[in-house]
Amino acid sequence: MLRVPHVLVLTGTLVLAATAACPSAALGQLVPRPPITQQDWQLRTVRESGQPVIPIFEGWYPEENGTYSLCFGFFSLNRSEALHIPVGPDNFIEPARFDGSQPTHFSPLGADGMTREYCVFTVNVPSDIADERVWWNLQVDGHTYRVPGHITARPWRVDNLVNSVAAASMGSEAEAPVAGSLVAPVVTLEGASGRVVRGKSGATAGELTVRAGSGLPITISVALPEEDELGDDLDPDEEGVLVRQLVKWTKFRGPEGVVRFSRDTIEFELGPEPVEQTVMATFREPGNYTLLAQVLSGSFSSQCCWTNAYVNVRVEQ
């Protein structure tokens, strides 16, 4: 596990280096830390650096093919420090057949106050998963933080493509929300493979290529779903109704060190026509990266609805 001083990297005042774990980690090797239940105060306290990142189970939803997807996010307790935890003994999912889709880059708290990274990846499990649990394990400074995902509890059921309950109310006496605000948008990754994706399960496009230190423009096209994709409960909005959207870019996987985006978040309004949004990504270190764009029409906290779009980038020396 590597720690990266996020703010300094962004300002370019520090040459990135793969620093070892912070001094507290070294101390931890000499003085065993108390069990989790006795270190709550430290755990809960957000500090500039030196704190862990906690895996969070967000919920589950059924897929059209009868399988299920489990949603995981994470909660960083560091204001300035990003963590880099490669897939392996410090970052793994069990049972092992579900391992491999998790992130390796863990952003610090955003400047906008967002402490959570909501459902940044999903694990697809078979229809006969029953009550089996899927554990995401992270090890930070010698301590393991793990969380189980499962489909056994209804309260963790989340919507994926359409906010089902709100959509069901569209015909009621209630003031009808804008239909487009209740659906995961359609995202097309321009300049990559042109792949179209919708929902949290996401898809990966690429691979784009750029030289280290050079800016890479990445354009996505965002559109509302076609009428026949809205489901039975939703009627299309009248023409001219705009729906606010958000694009949130983060590094998902890759070599240690952060990726600098020209804008971490982009807000815009979306009508009947697709809207293109471009971000400039700059990579200091060569290697293979995966970036994540979360395109949101609802709210993260209510777990619906957004689209996860992943972009592979190969950075050459």
């Binding site: 809960r44 306290t45 106050g113 969380v147 499962h150 309950v165 069901a168 209740l182 978040t265 209510s302």
Partner: protein, 487 residues
């Protein structure tokens, strides 16, 4: 039919513990208890039935929300051991507050007295005898659900105005939802002042999908009064006799509710009943019931000034959930509850004006166990106002009696401590292996404290209230000749 005796001992555990703290006064079963017993038989007909009618039947009757009716001996008898367990452990009637510390006088107190608990306990232990049927109280005639207003007895009349929400279908097995509903308030043609507001499900089935609602009165200029915040298990608000909130022609109710699905479709309807002050007789004070504070301000989490999800407007989801106009109320107070652990959070609120606390309500979600409200006064005195137990199903708003409402001078520091139990011992916990975070969903958690405060316009007004309270206390506790109190 068995026979038992009525004893004078107090069997409620928390009070025993309090007695212990007071210096070895703990009452233990044994010879001393026997000496205190009388020979009077405890029966259902004479002793238990009146208690059930007074404190239990409103929920435990056909068509109401209780899981079983408790209106006749035949209905009650099979449940006698469970009834004893529930009342002795203070689980029922739901009155989730520590009875051994803090203010204990409330307008909506639905708890049993120690004597009533003892009676039920003794009766159950004796085999739940019926007794003389001639002593049975006359059966109560309960009106239909739609005709019951709990505040009617306290206020002497049904509400002057009833507003219903639009019907809202909560689909079976769907995700949590926060529908955005509004209702026009009809029936007033000039400004009126609200004395009380009772909130209830419009149908018994609505109860099954109702998490909470924060109804607010929206004015023509778009401002909103959020003083009517409600939760599952909470009846509403009765303001002090000299305070209230205004209601104007054209106002609307914005329901701002949180619903969660069960295994069948439910058409949900919520209702607000308003009791109004007489025309041309507005109260002295305007109550501000919207103040509250987060438990996590003190931990370093409550720093967010414009958290991302709230940027979206009401047309998207959930309404204008921007920051409170009160800078001390932080909406993004994050929480993190480790798995299989207990956790505590603490928040601080500094009174920038003198005020009177009329209503208090804890809010913690499924892992919450209790919240403690403490006050540190400007002169250095400190006291516990109350320790609120938390039951997700009975998120009670505690309405202090007018002459028991805590008075806080300007500069008082209020401290709230939230205690969470994310272990398997918590019967509400759906999965103790989870890391639990702050969130709107039922399975996520919150920790904030809601207060119904009435602010005093001037220090003189506050001092007058203090003087009045002290005079009242002197009347209740006359000063003896030696200058000491009567304790």
């Amino acid at each position: 039919m068995g026979t038992t005796t009525r004893s004078s001992r107090v069997a409620v555990l928390p009070l025993q513990l309090a007695a212990l703290a007071l210096g070895g006064l703990l009452v233990l079963p044994g010879a001393a208890v026997s000496q205190a017993q009388t020979e009077e038989e405890v029966t259902f007909a004479r002793d238990v039935a009146p208690i059930l009618q007074e404190k239990c039947e409103t929920c435990h009757r056909e068509g109401s929300i209780g899981p079983m009716p408790l209106t006749t001996y035949d209905e009650v008898r099979p449940w006698a051991p469970l009834i004893k367990e529930k009342v002795v452990s203070l689980v029922m009637p739901p009155w989730p507050i520590d009875r051994t510390i803090g203010v204990q006088r409330f307008k909506n107190d639905r708890s049993l007295s120690d004597e009533q608990i003892q009676t039920i306990s003794d009766w159950a232990d004796a085999g739940a005898p019926l007794g003389d049927v001639a002593e049975l109280p006359a059966p109560l005639e309960w009106p239909e659900w739609s005709d019951v207003w709990r505040f009617e007895e306290e206020l002497g009349r049904p509400p002057d105005l009833v507003v219903s929400s639009p019907a809202y279908m909560v689909a079976a097995n769907s995700a949590d939802d926060w529908p955005w509903l509004e209702s026009q308030i009809e029936g007033i043609d000039e400004q009126r002042w609200i004395k009380a507001a009772e909130f209830r499900p419009g149908t018994a089935d609505t109860w099954n999908v109702f998490h909470h609602a924060n109804p607010g009165i929206v004015k023509l200029d778009g401002t909103s009064d959020g003083s009517l915040r409600q939760t599952r298990g909470n009846e509403g608000t009765i303001y002090a006799d000299d305070s209230g909130t205004p209601l104007d022609p054209g106002d609307i109710v914005r329901w701002n509710m949180h619903m969660y699905a069960i295994d069948r479709d439910v058409d949900a309807v919520l209702q607000l009943g308003f009791w109004l002050y007489p025309k041309d007789e507005p109260p002295t004070y305007r109550a501000d019931g919207a103040d509250g504070f987060s438990c996590s301000q003190y931990t370093g989490h409550g720093f967010a000034s414009d958290p991302l999800p709230w940027r979206f407007g009401p047309e998207l989801r959930g309404g204008p959930r921007g920051l409170s106009t009160n800078p001390q109320v932080v909406r993004q107070g994050d929480l993190l509850l480790p798995p299989n652990s207990w956790a505590t959070y603490r928040g601080v609120y500094v009174m920038d004006r003198a005020a009177r606390l009329e209503i208090a309500r804890a809010h913690l979600h499924l892992r919450g166990r209790y919240q403690i409200l403490e006050a540190v006064y400007p002169d250095g005195r400190w006291e516990v106002i109350n320790k609120f137990h938390f039951d997700h199903d009975w998120q009670t708003g505690f309405l202090y009696e007018d002459d028991a409402m805590p008075l806080f001078p300007k500069g008082t520091v209020l401290i709230v401590t939230g205690v969470f139990d994310n272990t398997a011992d918590n019967p509400h916990n759906p999965d103790p292996d989870q890391w639990v975070v702050r969130g709107d969903r039922t399975v996520d958690s919150m920790c904030h404290f809601r207060m119904g405060l009435t602010y005093f316009e001037t220090e003189e007004e506050f001092q007058a209230a203090v003087d009045e309270r002290e005079a009242l206390l002197r009347r209740e506790r006359p000063v003896s000749d030696d200058g000491g109190g009567d304790e």
